[in-house]
Amino acid sequence: MRTWFTLLLLPALWLNGTGYGQQPGNDRIEQVIILHTNDMHSKIDNLAKLAYLADSLRARFPNVWLVSSGDNFTGNPVVDMIADPGYPMIDLMNRCGFTVSALGNHEFDMGQESLNKRISQAAFPFICCNLDVSGATLKPLQPRILLKTKSGLEIPFLGIIQLDENGLPSSHPSKMTGIKFYDGISKAAEFTRLKDQYGMLIGLTHLGVEDDVNLANAHPLFDLILGGHSHTLIEKPMVENGVTILQAGSNLRYVGKTTLDIRNGKIIRISDTLIALVSLKNENPGIRKRIDTYNKNEEFAKVVGSASRPLEGVDEIGSLMADAVRETCKTDIAVQNRGGIRIQSISSGDITLKDIYKLDPFNNPVTVFQLTTDEIRSLLCYGYKLEKGIDLQVSGMTYRIKDNGQFQCDSAEITGPDGKPLDPARKYSVAMSNYIGVTYKFDHTLPGIDDRNTTAECLIQYLRNHPDINYQGVKRATVAP
């Protein structure tokens, strides 16, 4: 009797097309609402509105999931520059009821130990399929998660992280020691069986829209890719090779509201709307109060120095930063790259800790190299070639580049503080952010040695030692006419 019943049931399951492991189908449509965000970068101010939106949808619909495509951190000192970095962001994400997050490259900025703490703190999992942490401090992550609807349908979400040309995500290489990364698009092939198993498959990716398109072309089994990393505002859903690709900008200015219509265990329709959070009036008051507490961190309002005149532009601000590093690390010379100067001006008057971290949010330690004049020249010229103009601001020297007419360095005259050319026979100690030390291609025979200070700490010390700074008109790097 039992065998007869089983034989009858199996064809019924086959005919309705749910596949192995899913519920027997019927023609009823089940809806899932996914609120998706990406690249929030510690911008906590709109989380109270997001929470209100999520809760209001949860009150009306049975299946509402709140997901992040990674890069939850790095971008706000009240979250990133505290003793327990990132804690406020996860606390608030927990209170909003986030369901899952992909791992983004900036998750590594705080280092693996801190990231472990944040992952433990989170009431939701972080997922990533293309890394191996067996030799690392970072604890293992699930490659995917199964989210269950109220009717019992399970939908797999697969996490994938981007890699730069060096084979690592975009973070400081020292923060990812011991972790092996694999190409995400290739690795995803190992998980497309999830589509056979569950009838549906969603990518929660931190690849950037270009590679989301490549992923869709390589693996059209994905129903949907909720992407991040490239800060793309996809207002009209992209469909590539039958795969829907979505992304919601960055910094929690928007959230995407995706509705999945599911029938017989298959997604039959996907619709998406981008919601500008600034346009929402209502917010969760409890979460707002908590955000305000984090923002009022008095530590960041502390005055560390002052400027008697405003500082404008990369010459003046970059020279200040280079002076700070040179003096604090006691080197002959220091350099500051243009990409590391994150604000355009500093007003006259008090300079607070918050101002420092807006200017220099990276927490990069200083590295000191011993370089000859020719090696210094190769560093300056590399920066010039990258920027197609002056890149490196300096302390302890000045320089003048002769352009060969194609934005390349024909020569660079370097003079010391006494106005005379540097001595070609000696080596000079040159301090720089270790981001420059690692990523810039310049000549050096010995590796750099990390100083215990970060570039931001150098700036704080320098400002405390030099009240009423005045950098008006300072210009130490020029291009010959």
């Binding site: 730069d164 040309e165 975009s170 950037g208 829209v209 270009e210 398109v213 990393h229 490239s230 800060h231 793309t232 505002l233 996809i234 207002e235 992209m238 992304q247 900008g249 960055s250 910094n251 790259n337 243009r338 990409g339 590391g340 920066g383 070639k385 990258l386 920027e387 197609k388 103009g389 890149d391 934005f407 981001y435 990523t439 810039y440």
Partner: protein
Amino acid sequence: MTIYINSDKVEVSPGMTIGDAVKSYSHELFQQLTRGRIKVYDRFGNQTEPDGPLKAGQQLVLK
């Protein structure tokens, strides 16, 4: 690495954002971008925020 802005080749350094690349391409266009008079779009026609990262070969359009 090389990216393209309005079909022009632009050399950029690691760590630069889209906004940094626009600034190195044209200060005037960067000012228009920061004032909201123009926006950046990727090759698919999606608006891309100026604080986004760069990828080798990326094609951006300012309009």
